[in-house]
Protein backbone atom coordinates (compact mmCIF):
# COMPACT_ATOMS: atom_id res chain seq x y z
CA UNK A 1 0.00 0.00 0.00
CA UNK A 2 1.33 3.45 -0.75
CA UNK A 3 0.24 6.83 0.46
CA UNK A 4 -2.34 8.78 -1.47
CA UNK A 5 -1.34 11.62 -3.73
CA UNK A 6 -2.85 14.16 -1.36
CA UNK A 7 -0.77 12.85 1.51
CA UNK A 8 2.38 13.09 -0.60
CA UNK A 9 1.44 16.62 -1.56
CA UNK A 10 0.95 17.66 2.04
CA UNK A 11 4.15 16.00 3.31
CA UNK A 12 6.44 17.27 0.58
CA UNK A 13 4.77 20.67 0.74
CA UNK A 14 5.51 20.77 4.46
CA UNK A 15 9.15 19.90 3.92
CA UNK A 16 9.39 22.55 1.22
CA UNK A 17 7.93 25.12 3.61
CA UNK A 18 10.53 24.17 6.23
CA UNK A 19 13.28 24.50 3.62
CA UNK A 20 12.01 27.97 2.67
CA UNK A 21 11.94 28.96 6.31
CA UNK A 22 15.50 27.71 6.89
CA UNK A 23 16.71 29.63 3.86
CA UNK A 24 14.88 32.76 4.98
CA UNK A 25 16.44 32.60 8.44
CA UNK A 26 19.90 31.85 7.02
CA UNK A 27 19.85 34.78 4.64
CA UNK A 28 18.42 37.37 7.00
CA UNK A 29 20.18 36.68 10.30
CA UNK A 30 23.41 38.35 11.36
CA UNK A 31 26.37 37.97 11.74
CA UNK A 32 26.83 36.92 8.16
CA UNK A 33 30.04 34.92 8.81
CA UNK A 34 28.22 32.63 11.20
CA UNK A 35 25.48 31.98 8.64
CA UNK A 36 27.76 31.32 5.69
CA UNK A 37 27.49 27.56 6.00
CA UNK A 38 23.72 27.58 6.73
CA UNK A 39 23.24 29.64 3.57
CA UNK A 40 25.12 27.12 1.50
CA UNK A 41 23.21 24.17 2.96
CA UNK A 42 19.83 25.91 2.74
CA UNK A 43 20.26 26.44 -0.99
CA UNK A 44 20.70 22.70 -1.52
CA UNK A 45 17.94 21.95 0.96
CA UNK A 46 15.57 24.24 -0.94
CA UNK A 47 16.52 22.83 -4.33
CA UNK A 48 15.94 19.21 -3.28
CA UNK A 49 12.73 20.11 -1.46
CA UNK A 50 11.42 21.86 -4.56
CA UNK A 51 12.36 18.88 -6.75
CA UNK A 52 10.55 16.58 -4.33
CA UNK A 53 7.51 18.84 -4.22
CA UNK A 54 7.28 19.01 -8.00
CA UNK A 55 7.44 15.22 -8.17
CA UNK A 56 4.59 15.03 -5.68
CA UNK A 57 2.53 17.51 -7.67
CA UNK A 58 3.11 15.45 -10.81
CA UNK A 59 2.08 12.33 -8.92
CA UNK A 60 5.50 10.68 -9.21
CA UNK A 61 6.07 10.13 -5.47
CA UNK A 62 5.54 6.45 -4.89
CA UNK A 63 7.59 5.38 -1.86
CA UNK A 64 6.24 5.22 1.65
CA UNK A 65 3.00 3.68 2.81
CA UNK A 66 1.65 6.93 4.24
CA UNK A 67 -0.63 7.20 7.23
CA UNK A 68 -3.96 5.47 7.32
CA UNK A 69 -6.78 6.40 9.65
CA UNK A 70 -6.43 3.04 11.39
CA UNK A 71 -2.75 3.61 12.12
CA UNK A 72 -3.42 7.04 13.55
CA UNK A 73 -6.24 5.62 15.68
CA UNK A 74 -3.94 2.85 16.92
CA UNK A 75 -1.03 5.05 17.95
CA UNK A 76 -2.96 8.04 19.26
CA UNK A 77 -3.67 6.74 22.80
CA UNK A 78 -0.03 5.71 23.12
CA UNK A 79 1.15 9.10 21.93
CA UNK A 80 -0.97 10.89 24.51
CA UNK A 81 0.38 8.66 27.28
CA UNK A 82 3.95 9.30 26.07
CA UNK A 83 3.49 13.08 26.14
CA UNK A 84 1.98 13.07 29.63
CA UNK A 85 4.67 10.66 30.80
CA UNK A 86 7.55 12.79 29.55
CA UNK A 87 5.98 15.92 30.97
CA UNK A 88 5.56 14.42 34.40
CA UNK A 89 9.03 12.96 34.44
CA UNK A 90 10.32 16.37 33.43
CA UNK A 91 10.39 18.05 36.77
CA UNK A 92 11.72 21.57 36.72
CA UNK A 93 11.89 21.90 32.99
CA UNK A 94 10.46 24.63 30.78
CA UNK A 95 9.18 27.45 32.92
CA UNK A 96 6.08 29.48 32.15
CA UNK A 97 6.90 32.69 33.99
CA UNK A 98 3.32 34.02 33.94
CA UNK A 99 2.01 31.04 35.88
CA UNK A 100 4.75 30.87 38.46
CA UNK A 101 3.53 31.06 42.03
CA UNK A 102 0.15 29.56 41.27
CA UNK A 103 -0.25 26.48 43.44
CA UNK A 104 -1.60 24.25 40.71
CA UNK A 105 1.20 25.18 38.33
CA UNK A 106 3.82 24.71 41.01
CA UNK A 107 2.32 21.39 41.98
CA UNK A 108 2.20 20.11 38.40
CA UNK A 109 5.72 21.34 37.80
CA UNK A 110 7.08 19.26 40.64
CA UNK A 111 6.51 16.23 38.48
CA UNK A 112 6.30 12.66 39.64
CA UNK A 113 9.95 11.74 39.39
CA UNK A 114 11.52 9.45 36.85
CA UNK A 115 10.80 6.10 38.41
CA UNK A 116 7.21 6.73 39.47
CA UNK A 117 6.17 8.17 36.14
CA UNK A 118 8.02 5.40 34.27
CA UNK A 119 6.22 2.74 36.26
CA UNK A 120 2.83 4.29 35.55
CA UNK A 121 3.63 4.86 31.88
CA UNK A 122 4.94 1.34 31.33
CA UNK A 123 1.92 -0.21 32.99
CA UNK A 124 -0.54 2.02 31.13
CA UNK A 125 1.00 1.51 27.71
CA UNK A 126 1.30 -2.23 28.25
CA UNK A 127 -2.35 -2.40 29.32
CA UNK A 128 -3.58 -0.31 26.40
CA UNK A 129 -1.81 -2.39 23.76
CA UNK A 130 -2.12 -5.83 25.31
CA UNK A 131 -4.66 -7.67 23.15
CA UNK A 132 -5.98 -9.71 26.11
CA UNK A 133 -9.48 -8.45 27.00
CA UNK A 134 -9.58 -6.06 29.95
CA UNK A 135 -12.13 -8.30 31.70
CA UNK A 136 -9.51 -11.02 32.12
CA UNK A 137 -8.47 -10.65 35.75
CA UNK A 138 -5.39 -12.82 35.47
CA UNK A 139 -3.93 -10.65 32.72
CA UNK A 140 -3.93 -7.71 35.14
CA UNK A 141 -1.85 -9.71 37.61
CA UNK A 142 0.56 -10.62 34.84
CA UNK A 143 0.88 -6.96 33.84
CA UNK A 144 1.62 -5.90 37.39
CA UNK A 145 4.31 -8.57 37.70
CA UNK A 146 5.96 -7.68 34.38
CA UNK A 147 5.93 -3.97 35.26
CA UNK A 148 7.49 -4.65 38.65
CA UNK A 149 10.26 -6.80 37.21
CA UNK A 150 11.03 -4.33 34.43
CA UNK A 151 11.18 -1.32 36.73
CA UNK A 152 13.32 -3.23 39.21
CA UNK A 153 15.81 -3.93 36.42
CA UNK A 154 15.76 -0.28 35.33
CA UNK A 155 16.25 0.92 38.89
CA UNK A 156 19.07 -1.51 39.50
CA UNK A 157 20.81 -0.51 36.29
CA UNK A 158 20.51 3.27 36.47
CA UNK A 159 20.22 4.12 40.14
CA UNK A 160 22.31 1.40 41.75
CA UNK A 161 24.87 0.40 39.15
CA UNK A 162 25.44 3.51 37.02
CA UNK A 163 24.46 5.97 39.75
CA UNK A 164 22.61 8.29 37.37
CA UNK A 165 21.01 11.17 39.27
CA UNK A 166 17.47 11.47 37.95
CA UNK A 167 15.08 14.32 38.72
CA UNK A 168 13.15 13.63 41.90
CA UNK A 169 9.51 14.60 41.98
CA UNK A 170 6.88 14.36 44.62
CA UNK A 171 7.26 10.62 44.93
CA UNK A 172 10.57 8.97 44.15
Amino acid sequence: MTASRTQHLVSSGGIFAIALFVAWVSFTQEPAEAFLFPRLISVFFMAFALWNFVRAVMGLSKVGEGLSGDTVKAILPGLIVILIYFFWAAKGYGKVAALEGHWLYDWVRRGLGFYTSSTIAFFTLYSIYDPTPFSDGRSWIKRVIVTTIFMAVIYGLFALLLKVQTPRGMIF
Binding site: G92, Y93, W103, D106, W107, R110, Q165, M170, I171
Partner: protein, 323 residues
Protein backbone atom coordinates in the same frame (compact mmCIF):
# COMPACT_ATOMS: atom_id res chain seq x y z
CA UNK B 1 -15.32 27.70 46.87
CA UNK B 2 -12.19 29.00 45.29
CA UNK B 3 -10.49 29.48 48.63
CA UNK B 4 -11.51 26.00 49.64
CA UNK B 5 -9.83 24.54 46.58
CA UNK B 6 -6.79 26.66 47.19
CA UNK B 7 -6.53 25.54 50.79
CA UNK B 8 -7.03 21.94 49.77
CA UNK B 9 -4.41 22.29 47.08
CA UNK B 10 -1.94 23.91 49.42
CA UNK B 11 -2.29 21.25 52.04
CA UNK B 12 -2.02 18.55 49.40
CA UNK B 13 1.01 20.21 47.90
CA UNK B 14 2.58 20.66 51.32
CA UNK B 15 1.95 17.04 52.14
CA UNK B 16 3.51 15.74 48.98
CA UNK B 17 6.39 18.17 49.05
CA UNK B 18 7.12 17.63 52.70
CA UNK B 19 10.22 15.60 51.95
CA UNK B 20 11.74 18.12 49.57
CA UNK B 21 11.44 21.37 51.53
CA UNK B 22 14.89 23.05 51.48
CA UNK B 23 16.70 21.91 54.59
CA UNK B 24 18.40 24.29 57.00
CA UNK B 25 22.17 24.58 57.08
CA UNK B 26 22.45 22.19 60.02
CA UNK B 27 21.15 19.34 57.94
CA UNK B 28 22.73 20.51 54.69
CA UNK B 29 23.87 18.53 52.83
CA UNK B 30 21.52 15.63 53.34
CA UNK B 31 21.89 14.15 49.86
CA UNK B 32 24.57 14.06 47.13
CA UNK B 33 25.49 17.39 45.54
CA UNK B 34 25.80 17.86 41.80
CA UNK B 35 28.49 19.95 40.17
CA UNK B 36 27.70 21.09 36.65
CA UNK B 37 30.70 21.28 34.35
CA UNK B 38 30.16 23.36 31.21
CA UNK B 39 32.59 21.27 29.19
CA UNK B 40 32.59 17.68 27.98
CA UNK B 41 33.68 14.58 29.89
CA UNK B 42 37.43 14.07 29.63
CA UNK B 43 38.29 17.75 29.18
CA UNK B 44 40.60 19.59 31.58
CA UNK B 45 37.81 21.25 33.58
CA UNK B 46 35.90 17.99 33.81
CA UNK B 47 38.74 15.85 35.00
CA UNK B 48 40.04 18.45 37.47
CA UNK B 49 36.52 18.89 38.86
CA UNK B 50 36.33 15.15 39.36
CA UNK B 51 39.64 15.12 41.24
CA UNK B 52 39.00 18.09 43.54
CA UNK B 53 35.55 16.85 44.54
CA UNK B 54 36.51 13.23 45.16
CA UNK B 55 36.87 13.57 48.95
CA UNK B 56 33.58 15.47 49.42
CA UNK B 57 31.94 12.39 50.92
CA UNK B 58 34.43 12.21 53.83
CA UNK B 59 32.85 12.87 57.22
CA UNK B 60 35.09 15.86 57.95
CA UNK B 61 34.36 17.39 54.51
CA UNK B 62 30.79 17.77 53.26
CA UNK B 63 29.69 14.33 54.36
CA UNK B 64 27.93 13.76 51.05
CA UNK B 65 29.48 12.74 47.74
CA UNK B 66 29.62 15.12 44.79
CA UNK B 67 28.70 13.91 41.31
CA UNK B 68 29.58 15.63 38.04
CA UNK B 69 27.00 16.75 35.48
CA UNK B 70 28.41 17.54 32.05
CA UNK B 71 26.57 20.32 30.21
CA UNK B 72 28.87 21.06 27.28
CA UNK B 73 28.25 23.32 24.33
CA UNK B 74 29.09 26.69 22.78
CA UNK B 75 32.25 27.29 24.80
CA UNK B 76 30.44 26.85 28.12
CA UNK B 77 27.47 29.12 27.39
CA UNK B 78 24.99 26.26 27.42
CA UNK B 79 25.99 25.03 30.85
CA UNK B 80 26.11 28.44 32.49
CA UNK B 81 22.85 29.56 30.88
CA UNK B 82 21.24 26.47 32.30
CA UNK B 83 22.84 27.07 35.67
CA UNK B 84 21.75 30.71 35.84
CA UNK B 85 18.25 30.06 34.64
CA UNK B 86 17.04 26.60 35.54
CA UNK B 87 18.75 25.45 38.70
CA UNK B 88 17.11 25.56 42.11
CA UNK B 89 19.17 27.71 44.46
CA UNK B 90 19.18 25.20 47.29
CA UNK B 91 22.87 24.34 47.36
CA UNK B 92 22.35 20.89 45.85
CA UNK B 93 23.55 21.95 42.45
CA UNK B 94 26.84 23.79 42.17
CA UNK B 95 28.71 24.64 39.01
CA UNK B 96 32.34 24.86 38.08
CA UNK B 97 33.28 28.29 36.78
CA UNK B 98 35.96 29.19 34.30
CA UNK B 99 37.20 32.74 34.54
CA UNK B 100 37.74 34.69 32.25
CA UNK B 101 35.46 32.64 29.97
CA UNK B 102 32.07 33.27 31.51
CA UNK B 103 32.83 36.91 32.33
CA UNK B 104 34.05 37.64 28.79
CA UNK B 105 30.97 35.92 27.33
CA UNK B 106 28.62 37.92 29.55
CA UNK B 107 30.32 41.17 28.49
CA UNK B 108 30.02 40.16 24.85
CA UNK B 109 26.31 39.49 25.41
CA UNK B 110 23.73 37.00 24.20
CA UNK B 111 23.77 34.96 27.41
CA UNK B 112 21.60 34.89 30.51
CA UNK B 113 24.30 35.36 33.10
CA UNK B 114 26.80 37.90 34.37
CA UNK B 115 29.13 38.07 37.36
CA UNK B 116 26.10 39.03 39.44
CA UNK B 117 24.18 35.84 38.64
CA UNK B 118 26.49 33.63 40.67
CA UNK B 119 28.00 33.40 44.15
CA UNK B 120 31.56 32.05 44.24
CA UNK B 121 32.43 29.40 46.81
CA UNK B 122 36.14 28.79 46.30
CA UNK B 123 38.80 28.54 43.63
CA UNK B 124 40.78 25.35 43.05
CA UNK B 125 43.02 25.92 40.06
CA UNK B 126 44.76 28.47 37.89
CA UNK B 127 45.89 27.37 34.47
CA UNK B 128 47.76 30.15 32.66
CA UNK B 129 47.75 30.41 28.88
CA UNK B 130 51.04 29.63 27.14
CA UNK B 131 52.30 30.40 23.64
CA UNK B 132 53.41 27.22 21.87
CA UNK B 133 54.98 26.43 18.50
CA UNK B 134 55.63 23.09 16.82
CA UNK B 135 58.88 21.30 17.64
CA UNK B 136 60.31 22.04 14.18
CA UNK B 137 59.27 25.68 14.19
CA UNK B 138 62.02 28.22 13.33
CA UNK B 139 61.05 30.35 16.33
CA UNK B 140 62.77 29.64 19.60
CA UNK B 141 61.78 32.69 21.62
CA UNK B 142 58.65 34.77 21.88
CA UNK B 143 60.59 37.80 20.59
CA UNK B 144 61.43 36.02 17.32
CA UNK B 145 57.79 35.13 16.82
CA UNK B 146 56.52 38.63 17.61
CA UNK B 147 59.17 40.27 15.42
CA UNK B 148 58.20 38.05 12.51
CA UNK B 149 54.52 38.87 13.09
CA UNK B 150 55.32 42.58 13.12
CA UNK B 151 57.11 42.30 9.80
CA UNK B 152 54.32 40.18 8.28
CA UNK B 153 51.00 41.45 9.57
CA UNK B 154 48.15 38.97 9.16
CA UNK B 155 50.50 36.10 8.33
CA UNK B 156 50.93 34.49 11.73
CA UNK B 157 48.09 32.13 12.65
CA UNK B 158 47.42 31.40 16.33
CA UNK B 159 45.15 28.52 17.28
CA UNK B 160 43.10 28.56 20.48
CA UNK B 161 40.01 26.93 21.97
CA UNK B 162 37.19 29.16 20.74
CA UNK B 163 36.26 32.83 21.02
CA UNK B 164 36.03 34.70 24.35
CA UNK B 165 37.89 32.06 26.31
CA UNK B 166 41.23 32.53 28.08
CA UNK B 167 43.19 31.72 24.93
CA UNK B 168 41.38 34.36 22.93
CA UNK B 169 41.87 36.94 25.69
CA UNK B 170 45.60 36.17 25.72
CA UNK B 171 45.77 36.58 21.94
CA UNK B 172 43.94 39.92 22.14
CA UNK B 173 46.25 41.14 24.89
CA UNK B 174 49.31 40.03 22.96
CA UNK B 175 48.14 41.91 19.88
CA UNK B 176 47.38 44.98 21.93
CA UNK B 177 50.71 45.08 23.75
CA UNK B 178 52.99 44.14 20.86
CA UNK B 179 51.21 45.98 18.06
CA UNK B 180 51.58 42.89 15.87
CA UNK B 181 48.63 41.58 13.88
CA UNK B 182 47.88 37.87 14.40
CA UNK B 183 45.16 35.71 12.85
CA UNK B 184 43.38 33.94 15.69
CA UNK B 185 41.96 30.56 14.64
CA UNK B 186 39.27 29.33 17.05
CA UNK B 187 38.97 25.55 17.00
CA UNK B 188 36.00 23.38 17.82
CA UNK B 189 36.66 20.72 20.39
CA UNK B 190 38.63 22.65 22.96
CA UNK B 191 42.32 22.78 23.74
CA UNK B 192 43.08 19.37 22.25
CA UNK B 193 42.05 20.41 18.74
CA UNK B 194 43.98 23.67 19.05
CA UNK B 195 47.07 21.73 20.15
CA UNK B 196 46.70 19.31 17.26
CA UNK B 197 46.75 22.23 14.83
CA UNK B 198 50.09 23.35 16.31
CA UNK B 199 51.68 19.89 16.36
CA UNK B 200 50.56 19.14 12.81
CA UNK B 201 51.80 22.50 11.54
CA UNK B 202 48.36 23.67 10.38
CA UNK B 203 49.05 26.96 12.18
CA UNK B 204 52.23 28.92 12.90
CA UNK B 205 51.74 29.04 16.67
CA UNK B 206 49.08 28.42 19.25
CA UNK B 207 47.81 29.51 22.60
CA UNK B 208 46.95 26.70 24.94
CA UNK B 209 46.59 25.70 28.58
CA UNK B 210 49.78 25.49 30.57
CA UNK B 211 48.92 21.95 31.67
CA UNK B 212 48.44 20.77 28.09
CA UNK B 213 51.44 22.74 26.86
CA UNK B 214 53.58 21.21 29.60
CA UNK B 215 52.54 17.68 28.66
CA UNK B 216 53.03 18.26 24.95
CA UNK B 217 56.46 19.79 25.61
CA UNK B 218 57.41 16.84 27.84
CA UNK B 219 56.46 14.52 25.02
CA UNK B 220 58.66 16.53 22.67
CA UNK B 221 55.86 17.65 20.36
CA UNK B 222 56.00 21.43 20.93
CA UNK B 223 58.16 24.25 22.28
CA UNK B 224 56.63 26.55 24.90
CA UNK B 225 57.73 30.14 24.26
CA UNK B 226 56.05 32.17 26.99
CA UNK B 227 53.55 32.11 29.84
CA UNK B 228 50.80 34.73 30.11
CA UNK B 229 50.96 35.15 33.89
CA UNK B 230 52.53 37.43 36.48
CA UNK B 231 55.27 34.98 37.41
CA UNK B 232 56.90 31.86 36.06
CA UNK B 233 55.17 28.56 36.72
CA UNK B 234 56.57 25.67 38.76
CA UNK B 235 55.78 23.22 35.99
CA UNK B 236 57.81 25.20 33.44
CA UNK B 237 60.47 27.10 35.40
CA UNK B 238 62.57 27.82 32.30
CA UNK B 239 59.80 29.49 30.31
CA UNK B 240 59.69 33.29 30.69
CA UNK B 241 56.51 35.25 31.26
CA UNK B 242 55.37 37.65 28.56
CA UNK B 243 56.12 40.50 30.97
CA UNK B 244 59.75 39.42 31.36
CA UNK B 245 59.96 39.26 27.59
CA UNK B 246 58.99 42.90 27.35
CA UNK B 247 55.28 42.63 26.58
CA UNK B 248 53.15 43.91 29.49
CA UNK B 249 50.48 41.18 29.34
CA UNK B 250 49.05 40.53 32.82
CA UNK B 251 47.21 37.48 34.20
CA UNK B 252 43.78 38.41 32.82
CA UNK B 253 43.80 35.33 30.59
CA UNK B 254 44.69 32.85 33.33
CA UNK B 255 42.00 30.19 33.45
CA UNK B 256 40.75 30.19 37.05
CA UNK B 257 38.58 27.24 37.95
CA UNK B 258 36.42 26.91 41.03
CA UNK B 259 32.95 26.25 42.35
CA UNK B 260 29.97 28.56 42.52
CA UNK B 261 26.26 28.46 43.37
CA UNK B 262 23.42 30.48 41.85
CA UNK B 263 22.41 33.81 43.34
CA UNK B 264 19.61 33.34 45.84
CA UNK B 265 21.15 30.35 47.61
CA UNK B 266 20.51 30.66 51.38
CA UNK B 267 23.36 32.55 53.05
CA UNK B 268 23.95 29.86 55.68
CA UNK B 269 24.43 27.24 52.94
CA UNK B 270 26.91 29.52 51.17
CA UNK B 271 28.78 30.10 54.42
CA UNK B 272 28.95 26.41 55.16
CA UNK B 273 30.27 25.61 51.69
CA UNK B 274 32.72 28.51 51.72
CA UNK B 275 34.10 27.25 55.04
CA UNK B 276 34.43 23.59 54.01
CA UNK B 277 35.32 23.60 50.32
CA UNK B 278 38.81 25.21 50.40
CA UNK B 279 39.90 22.52 52.86
CA UNK B 280 38.52 19.89 50.51
CA UNK B 281 40.66 21.28 47.67
CA UNK B 282 43.77 21.08 49.86
CA UNK B 283 43.22 17.48 50.95
CA UNK B 284 46.42 15.46 50.56
CA UNK B 285 44.88 13.01 48.08
CA UNK B 286 43.58 15.85 45.91
CA UNK B 287 46.96 17.58 45.90
CA UNK B 288 48.70 14.35 44.93
CA UNK B 289 46.29 13.57 42.08
CA UNK B 290 46.35 17.15 40.73
CA UNK B 291 50.16 17.14 40.70
CA UNK B 292 50.24 13.77 38.96
CA UNK B 293 47.82 15.12 36.36
CA UNK B 294 50.04 18.13 35.62
CA UNK B 295 47.34 20.54 36.77
CA UNK B 296 48.40 23.59 38.78
CA UNK B 297 46.48 23.84 42.06
CA UNK B 298 45.66 27.34 43.29
CA UNK B 299 43.23 27.48 46.19
CA UNK B 300 41.47 30.78 46.94
CA UNK B 301 38.69 31.41 49.44
CA UNK B 302 35.36 33.09 48.75
CA UNK B 303 36.52 36.65 49.50
CA UNK B 304 39.59 36.31 47.29
CA UNK B 305 37.49 34.95 44.43
CA UNK B 306 34.97 37.80 44.78
CA UNK B 307 37.82 40.30 44.48
CA UNK B 308 39.30 38.43 41.51
CA UNK B 309 35.92 38.35 39.68
CA UNK B 310 35.43 42.09 40.19
CA UNK B 311 38.90 42.83 38.86
CA UNK B 312 38.44 40.59 35.79
CA UNK B 313 35.10 42.21 35.03
CA UNK B 314 36.84 45.58 34.87
CA UNK B 315 39.86 44.48 32.81
CA UNK B 316 37.81 42.49 30.31
CA UNK B 317 35.18 45.19 29.83
CA UNK B 318 38.06 47.50 28.88
CA UNK B 319 39.78 44.97 26.61
CA UNK B 320 36.65 43.86 24.76
CA UNK B 321 35.22 47.35 24.33
CA UNK B 322 36.24 47.81 20.74
CA UNK B 323 35.27 44.34 19.56
Amino acid sequence: MKTLFKALGLSLAAATMGLAVPASADEYPSRPIGVAVSYGAGGATDFQARIVTMVAGNEDMLGQPIYILNKPGAGGRVGWNWFADEVEADGYTMSAYNVPHFIAQSIKGGVKYSVDSFEPIANWGADPAVVVVGKDSPYNTIQELVDYAKGNPGKVTLSGAGLFVGHHIAALQLEKETGAKFVYIPTKGGGAAAMKAVIAGDVVAGINNLSDGFRAAEAGNVKVLAVADLERNDFLPDVPTLMESGYPVDNASVNFRGLMVPKGTPQDVIDKLAAKVPGMFEHARVVKRMKAGGSPLHVMNREEVQAMWAKRQETLAELLKGL
